[in-house]
């Protein structure tokens, strides 16, 4: 399929079908797809939640989001390395390293992890040991935005990544290249943001599972290809006249790392909810405003992360508490309720649940807690639970 903007607008169904097919691929397969039009292209894995994709892209690599391997991959060797009480994405990601899917032979230069939780941190080290020759980077993203020193620290940390990556690919990553990548990703974020606005303002114009598939597809293709595709999708979504439904508008919160199955999202929406806001793959659209393309681009990215990024359960900023962030999200999207969905065993989400629940109770916002796993395949029980929840809101 050719995503370049042609005379005819490609239909939303076609694009979504293509996106859904793309997210079914393993990272090596997605890279192979991209290589069809860009021979020799190499990939670089980005473990959630956030890493500066622009720097990776400016190095001439394709940033590839690692959101777990869902049902695509059988974890055989990784299960014995990470115990049963560890989240599934840790095991499936390690399996990708052990199986060579994220190896040099498959075209991957390396992968980057960050300080989101204890599991991701240990995973980074274990993955590095088990994938000799692959460059594995660990970013310690700042957890104290209140200190003025955080600005300098974050800039240095991003610059360190740029320098290490440049050393690895054997050529400098110059500012102009990073600026071009920033401009490109600004457009990517803008388009996603616009699709989100459509969903929120014209419920039913795009199903959340489809929107998520499109966003995920964007994490395993070159941004240059994503932009025309997303433009076409947006045009089609704008033309689509949704049929009004009686639904409960909800914010979906907590699924910022391991990706829930698309069927789970469909199950939520078919059980009487309309998701109007969510934190799915939030790291890939974390800036609400454009990152400046003037001046020092690495500093611009670092500053944007520190001061201009959306809240997540893995970033701590006492000047902008996450409970406030969630309440604002609920208000801005005019949601009736919140579904707190965390990956099984995901400590950051499970801890935040306690504070979120308190804050929501205080404001009288109804909420429901659910847990998911990337490999889950039956959704009946969950659908019933959500149905009961929505009915209680619609009819009580």
């Amino acid at each position: 399929m050719n995503f370049s903007p042609g005379p005819a607008i490609t239909s939303a169904e076609e694009i979504i079908r293509e996106c859904r097919a793309l997210v079914e691929l393993l990272p090596s397969q997605a890279l192979a797809r991209a290589r069809e039009s860009r021979p020799g292209l190499r990939g670089f894995g980005v473990f959630p939640v956030y890493a500066p994709q622009e720097i990776i892209h400016a190095a001439g690599l394709m940033p590839v989001g690692l959101f777990g391997a869902g049902a695509k991959l059988e974890t055989t060797r990784a299960d014995s390395r990470f115990q049963s009480f560890i989240c599934s994405i840790a095991r499936s990601t390690l399996e990708l390293f052990l199986s060579g899917d994220l190896g040099r032979e498959s075209g991957f230069e390396g992968a980057v992890f960050s300080s989101i939780c204890d599991v991701a941190r240990n995973l980074c080290s274990v993955a590095g040991r088990n994938a000799p020759g692959v460059y594995v980077e660990y970013l310690h993203l700042p957890q104290n935005a209140a200190t003025p020193a955080a600005r300098e620290y974050t800039r240095r940390e991003f610059a360190r990544f740029r320098d290490n990556l440049a050393g690895r690919v054997g050529r400098p990553i110059d500012d102009e290249a990073i600026r071009r990548s920033i401009a490109l990703y600004n457009r990517v974020r803008e388009l996603i943001c616009e699709l989100y606005t459509q969903r929120q303002e014209r419920p039913g114009s795009i199903r959340t599972a489809d929107l998520f598939a499109a966003v995920l597809a964007g994490t395993c293709m070159m941004p240059e290809d994503f932009v025309p595709m997303a433009e076409a999708l947006l045009a089609s979504v704008r033309e689509h006249a949704p049929v009004p439904r009686d639904t409960v508008n909800v914010v979906l919160e907590g699924a910022f790392c391991e990706a829930p199955p698309l069927d789970l999202i469909d199950a939520i929406e078919s059980a009487g909810c309309q998701i109007v806001e969510d934190d799915l793959a939030i790291g890939w659209r974390i800036f609400r405003k454009d990152v400046p393309v003037e001046g020092d681009p690495v500093a611009a990215l670092a500053d944007a992360y520190l001061a201009g990024s959306a809240y997540t359960s893995v970033r701590h900023d006492s000047t902008r508490p996450r409970t406030r962030g969630l309440l604002e999200r609920v208000e801005a999207s005019r949601a009736d309720a919140v579904i707190l969905a965390s990956a099984k065993f995901c400590e950051p989400a499970l801890f935040d649940y306690v504070l979120f629940r308190r804050a929501l109770d205080e404001r009288g916002v109804p909420h429901l807690k659910i847990e998911f796993e990337e490999k889950m395949w039956t959704f009946e029980r969950l659908r019933n639970e959500i149905e009961t929840f929505t009915e209680s809101l619609l009819f009580d």
């Binding site: 390395r81 990470f82 115990q83 660990y138 893995v314 006492s318």
Partner: protein, 444 residues
């Protein structure tokens, strides 16, 4: 195979250091109780890679919720508090240290009616463990106390501290100093800090010497089960004369034992290295399972959550603030990678001449446990060190299965004993591979 799981009769030597430790720790806890009533300034702080010296410089009493959780568990009192926390939404998969402490707070353990003072400040020294941030955020919110965050970048460039990381941590330490000045109305006195840091260094030298003595055969104390006697003073009381004196006395005692050939157990049979925190709710039971085999722990990673002083680092009175920052950044287990932990354990096995590695994998603590299966893989397959991995929890009594635990431990030592009998003949014939010590080879 022993016929009973009872430990050998404890010799009197073992209890000397235990009693000394109890004395200094009780004095501190009495201060905490007094402060709970008087409202004297106090601050929450985390154990790993902490900067207690700064609080001490302002006479702010340090309170360690982790030690509170540990004590609840070891006294078998944790479960009702854990359940209380689960009532308000904590998940069964959340770290139970947090849950026990939060439950304790909710049930009025903190404040005038309890044994723990309501802190004037909550200082989150985020050193490695991400749960720390959540925990102290929750405490700050529930108690309505200001939170001072100290974000310590994780080690990511080997053994060198980058200037950027050092500046970042130092700037935040200065922020903490400012907060302490404001709280107490006192000016920061660097000479006082030098003196305190001097006491820290003396305690650290004692710690290091004591651990070094476990290289002797038999080891004078068990570096896992007995090391909590030293962990309290080194982590909570560091920077006091009392802690420094405690280590002088402990070292003198262990030196005497080593000189007389006295060990932690009567006839040391197996020397093991322990990885992971112990199951505090069943501390004694668990210990007995090893004692039955006359297995002694000669080194442990858990004892180094606060600092890896056995490898030489000391706080430095000439560079008090820098050395505090360096300690937080580099010289403690929690802020180091899994691969660095493997290297630490490998050194333990080799230099302390251990026969095996025991991994106690705890559900609560993913900082320790996530990936321990890979650690087992590395030690058994790549180094040939016999490795036992058992699972339970450090706080939640619901995860300890005694019979299963005993079976696994007995089976492991039985096979170790068998290998030893068979291996002694083979070892005589084998050629030493370069770079791998006798201890590592013994396991092959």
């Amino acid at each position: 195979m022993p016929t009973t799981a009872q430990p050998p009769a404890a010799n009197d030597y073992g209890s000397v250091v235990h009693d000394l430790s109890r004395e200094v720790m009780t004095a501190w806890m009495t201060q905490l109780q007094d402060a709970a009533r008087s409202g004297a300034p106090s601050a929450y702080m985390m154990v790993s890679g902490n900067c207690v010296e700064i609080l001490r410089c302002f006479d702010i009493l340090p309170v360690f919720p982790e030690i509170n959780a540990l004590q609840l568990a070891i006294r078998k009192k944790a479960l009702p508090y854990i359940l209380k926390a689960e009532e308000i939404g904590y998940a069964s998969d959340n770290c139970a240290y947090v849950k026990a402490d939060i439950g304790y707070t909710l049930l009025e353990g903190v404040g005038e009616n309890g044994l723990t003072p309501r802190p004037s400040l909550i200082v989150c020294n985020f050193v490695g463990c991400n749960v720390y941030i959540k925990w102290f955020e929750h405490c700050a919110e529930m108690l309505g106390v200001p939170l001072v965050m100290i974000d310590v970048p994780f080690v990511r460039q080997g053994e060198a501290v980058s200037t950027g990381d050092l500046h970042y941590v130092m700037a935040q330490l200065r922020g903490l100093i400012a907060a302490c000045e404001e709280l107490t109305g006192r000016k920061f006195d660097i000479d006082r800090l030098r003196e305190i840091v001097g006491y820290s260094a003396r305690a650290e030298a004692g710690w290091s010497r004591a651990k070094d003595l476990c290289k002797t055969r038999p080891a004078p104390f068990d570096c896992y089960f007995d090391s909590i006697n030293m962990m309290g003073p080194i982590n909570a009381l560091r920077g006091t004369k009392e802690a420094a004196d405690f280590f002088d006395a402990a070292v003198a005692h262990y030196e005497m034992m080593a000189a007389r050939g006295l060990g932690a157990t009567d006839e040391e049979q197996f020397r093991v290295v322990f990885e992971g925190p112990p199951p505090y709710p069943y501390y004694r039971n668990f210990r007995n399972l090893f004692a039955a085999w006359k297995a002694v722990c000669v080194q442990s990673t858990y004892s180094t959550v606060g600092g890896t002083w056995e490898f030489g680092f000391r706080h430095d009175p000439d560079r008090p603030l820098e050395s505090i920052a360096e300690q937080m950044l580099l010289h403690n287990l929690c802020n180091r990678t899994m691969q660095e932990r493997y290297r630490q354990i490998r050194r333990y096995v080799e230099e302390w001449q251990a026969d095996a590695l025991v991994i106690h994998s705890v559900k609560s603590c993913r900082l320790f446990s996530a990936g321990q299966g890979d650690m087992r893989e590395y030690f058994t397959k790549e180094l040939g060190v016999p490795t036992l991995m058992v699972e339970s929890d450090l706080e939640d009594p619901r995860y300890y299965a005694e019979a299963q635990m005993k079976n696994r431990i007995d089976a492991f030592f039985e096979s170790l004993q068998y290998k030893r009998l068979r291996g002694s003949a083979a070892e005589a014939r084998s050629v030493s591979p370069e770079g791998v010590s006798d201890a590592v080879r013994r396991g092959r």
